[in-house]
């Protein structure tokens, strides 16, 4: 599959906001997607990049995070891959259970799953793919129209 947009990011949490804004700015027609894109995709992508840098690469500045974004068949798809050992997504407890609500962390994956149409990990657990279904008419600049 051709990648419409590929970014190699340093493990630096200060780079996340700019990377997310860049992706949003490259998506022509996405403004019409309204809340789905402005909130759901933005939150999901931010959480995926945060997890990759904080927990995947464990803040290691010598490691990088790869972000690939495509729009095809009416689906905006973002894949985030870190260079860490990976993790088992099933091991993350439900942050909304009463015993976990007071915990300061553990909400990123939950939010991705709640806000995106599809979320899946590779077997190693160092790559997450997020999918948001779009209304017609959206495309990445220079890429194929959905």
């Amino acid at each position: 599959m051709d990648k419409d947009l590929v970014l190699e990011l340093p493990t630096d949490i200060q780079s996340i906001e700019g990377a997310v804004e860049f992706v949003m700015s490259r998506c022509s027609g996405c403004a019409e997607q309204g809340r789905k894109l402005k909130l759901n995709f933005r939150v999901g992508l931010t959480e995926a990049l945060s997890n990759a840098m904080l927990y995947g690469n464990v803040h290691d500045p010598s490691q990088s995070v790869t972000l690939e974004v495509t729009i095809e068949s009416g689906r905006l798809k973002a894949t985030v891959r870190d260079q860490g050992a990976g993790f088992d997504p099933a091991s993350i407890p439900d942050p909304t259970r009463p015993e976990n609500v007071n915990r300061p962390s553990g909400r990123g994956l939950f939010l991705m799953r709640q806000l995106l149409d599809e979320v899946w990990h590779n077997d190693r657990g160092n790559e997450v793919t997020l999918v948001l279904r779009l209304d017609s008419g959206s495309a990445l600049e220079g890429g194929a129209q959905a």
């Binding site: 949490i13 996340i16 962390s105 909400r107 709640q114």
Partner: protein
């Protein structure tokens, strides 16, 4: 993100400007903890000018709330927009905080 601290009677009001996210959450945490260490017990954080809080930002609010409660105080939140309210409801954090529509509501009876 920036924030302004002011005091009204016994309540410390923190007005946040901009997104509260992984890259800046520690600044807010440090600012509130300094006030807590200085003896302040009642806090309102106002998000009139915030359109987005990520899970790290939510985590900082949870952490601050816990530390403030341990000292016998309380942290209230005000002026969350519709999207932010939805995030608090999804994560059930609306059960952890008293959330009001405006600053005045948060200050009332504090």
């Amino acid at each position: 993100m920036s924030f302004q601290v002011s005091k009204s009677s016994e309540v410390t009001l923190i007005e946040v400007e901009g997104q509260l996210i992984v890259g800046n959450r520690q600044e807010l945490k440090q600012g509130v903890l300094e006030q807590l260490e200085g003896g302040d017990m009642k806090f309102v954080i106002d998000f009139s000018n915030t359109d987005y809080i990520d899970s790290s930002g939510l985590g900082v609010l949870v952490s601050l709330s816990k530390k403030i409660r341990e000292k016998g105080g309380e942290l209230r939140l005000s002026n969350l927009n519709e999207d932010l309210r939805m995030l608090f409801e999804l994560t059930k954090l609306d059960t952890l905080f008293r959330i009001t529509d405006n600053k005045e509501g948060a200050l009332e009876g504090f």
